[in-house]
Amino acid sequence: MDELLRDFIAETMEHLAVLDRDLVAIEENPADSQLLDNAFRSVHSIKGTCGFLGLKRIETLLHAAETLLGKIRDGGLSAAVATTAPAALLGACDRARSLVAALATDGHEPDGADGDIIARLELSARSALALPPAAEMPVADAAAVSANAVTASIRVNLDTIDRLMAEVSELVLARNQLMQVLRGRDDGEAALALQRLSQVTSDLQESVMKARMQPIGQAWAKLPRIVRDLGRELGKKIELKLEGAETELDRQVLELVKDPFTHLVRNAADHGIESATERRRAGKPETGTVILAARQEGGAIVITLCDDGRGIDPEKLRAVARRRGFAGEAELLAMDEHQLQQLVFHPGFTTAAQVTSVSGRGVGLDVVRSNVEKIGGTVDLSSTIGRGTRFTIKIPLTLAIVPALLLDCGGQRFAVPQTAVAELVRIGDGHRVEWIHDAPVLRTRGRLLPLVRLADVLGFGTSAGASESLIAIVGHGTRRFGVMIDGVDDAEEIVVKSLSPVLRGVRLFAGSTILGDGSVVLILDPGALAAAVGTAESGEAALSAAPVSALGTASRGASMLVFRAGDSAKAIPLASIVRIEEVGMREIEQIDGKPALSYRGRFLPLHVFGALGHPANKRRVIIAEHDGKSIGFPVDELLDTVDESLVLDGSMARPGLLGVAALGGRLTEIVDVAHYAATRGAPLPIATRSAA
């Protein structure tokens, strides 16, 4: 197919999606002349190109649509037309789309005619004609808007952008390698040049990533139409509000989350929003509202989908889970509301009383969740009966570069995406491995977590010298399990490369990568690990989602955790961190006028940088240890883990502050854990809290 035609197809599909959205909006807001102008322009420009390319069938169809739109624009949308025109135009839009799709596969327009659609358009146009012309159009305004809309831009082939991204990824690797080589050397000049290279590389990476970005609104273009059609089909009044549609996302990520969005919106319209009568009885406005909002937060995009519908009844969930045997009775009774709500992500779960053509077929939220998790994202849900439901989806900005943790097993290193690792626990540190028949389980916080030996999964067998003293707790879907490993080596940003075809049969690995030191490591696929644990466990569904932080008890001395607390970036050596907990601020008590947290039956003294925050909020608390004494630091935000040699500027040192260093390009205060542990710290009990 020639380039011109390919461009036309891509462009027209985009135009049609926008047109869909505008037409739905016109239906809601018939008086909006701006919308009419937009729709007219879209149709006109596609039609023009069709004429140029000799695509007669689409041209004829769109000509009829254009005529109708022109009549409405000049004559206003009367009550008579309002009922027929948008539907006829949407019909034309659908037909045009299927013609373009056929064009894309066959390379030419399919045979046939569109007399049916055209007749409807003409009929509608005739009723528009009967009306007196409306007031003069503000033509100048419209022209000004369209002129502003044209920004300096060019269309670039996606392959070019993808190749550019791949090359930049290689550059990042080369830079990391160079840093590794020069790390041990005392060469100021080289260090300076490297710093410059590093800066330029980072900037370039950012620019290329930006070039791959597309507004998330593109993935949403179809949604207003879907909600409109659903509302009609189900006899409900639903308003869809889109916020933050301009938020930009990597195009590859965008492709992957398109379907999950559609699914969630359908779900909200179908299950969430009640019928108008039901809403009136509940004292709510007849029209239900679904709000889809996106915003950027650090290196992630957070998307929320809220509806003001009936909410999810936890008791109903419990009943369905019981009936389908998703979890044991005792477990179900022990679950709190939030844990019960997570059951909707269980495969095959649906609470819809009846299966509609829309959703409720039991294929659903589990697929949404696994799609989002596949790209390193998370999905969470909260719901209040009678008030509505909110889904929160967090997805990374880009897939090209993934923060990973390097695990040791049998003398070999393996990478695992950090997002998959909920936490790291050291055996003995209040955690015990027990055996049920032949299966190891971890007893932690009163719960049992299925365990798997990574050495077994890898077919290493029992080798001498393997300590297996560390457990990486991995979350995959609703499953949560521990992976026994020998240690954690490092955290590094990696560029994922797919395995060669001869290795595709090995399902355990998601790919491989080259580390900064030039060595090649395999990337473990959390999904395959989950499969290795087996499907018998039901217990993991009961485990609430612990804060996801890929940080833990063991690491090399130089690795630092960077966080924000009290308005500045601070860092603590990873080696001194025992654990990170999420804590509600109201759990914090004052002991002798100093804040402390009741933790494992003892009081853990806290040192608060800045203010403690509102009692209703939750914050993460870093629990650090020095010389047998523990202290907690509430943090505002975990920023990063870095593994850089420290160049400490001690001129600002004071008790509790070792000095300031540039970490990950950020001026960071290095916290003196020893100081706080010695002055305020308290020993933590070793014993595990009882399971009861």
């Binding site: 290689e170 690797l173 080369a174 070999q412 890898l458 077919g459 290493f460 490369k497 395995l499 060669s500 075809p501 001869v502 290795l503 049969g505 090995v506 355990l508 690995f509 491989s512 990568t513 080259i514 030039g518 060595s519 090649v520 490591v521 395999l522």
Partner: protein, 148 residues
């Protein structure tokens, strides 16, 4: 008529020919990252100037006894469908221009695996050289896996 240029490699006492056109590089045997659960013939992964290559032990691939751990060995890097593969061999010899009229079909008595990966046998002055089809050397790895 010429059937093209081949690089002659040695595995044990047997000589093989790999088409020069398929070869990207020849290097000393490198350390590789083993791939657990992979077919036996896959020696591992290695970093070739920023690209990841899959190393294939040709001895194991052809059902020959493995080389001694201390053996030096050489890697012949070939490219197939955009992927790099490093074929480990005992030694690499000269480039030979193969004349079409001195090619013989692979004898039927040979191991079926050999018959699959070989295109022909070349009768050189000092002995027989088995000519490889690189694509076939690689595409049957999953079959090996199924058998193991």
């Amino acid at each position: 008529m010429s059937a093209g240029d081949y690089v002659i490699v040695r595995l044990g006492a047997q000589e093989f020919g790999i088409p020069v056109a398929d070869i990207r590089d020849v290097l000393r045997r490198q350390k590789t990252t083993p791939v657990p659960l992979a077919p036996r013939a896959i020696a591992g992964l290695l970093n070739l100037r920023g690209r990841i290559a899959t190393a294939i032990d040709l001895r194991l691939r052809l059902g020959l006894p493995p080389a001694a751990a201390s053996a030096e060995g050489t890697m012949v890097v070939v490219e197939r469908e955009g992927e790099l593969y490093a074929l480990t061999v005992d030694a690499v010899g000269d480039v030979l221009r193969i004349e079409q009229d001195r090619l013989e079909p692979v004898p039927a008595a040979r191991d079926p695996e050999w018959r699959h990966v070989a295109t022909a046998v070349y009768a050189a002055a000092h002995g027989l050289i088995v000519l490889f089809d690189v694509g076939r050397l690689l595409d049957i790895v999953p079959r090996l896996r199924a058998a193991s």
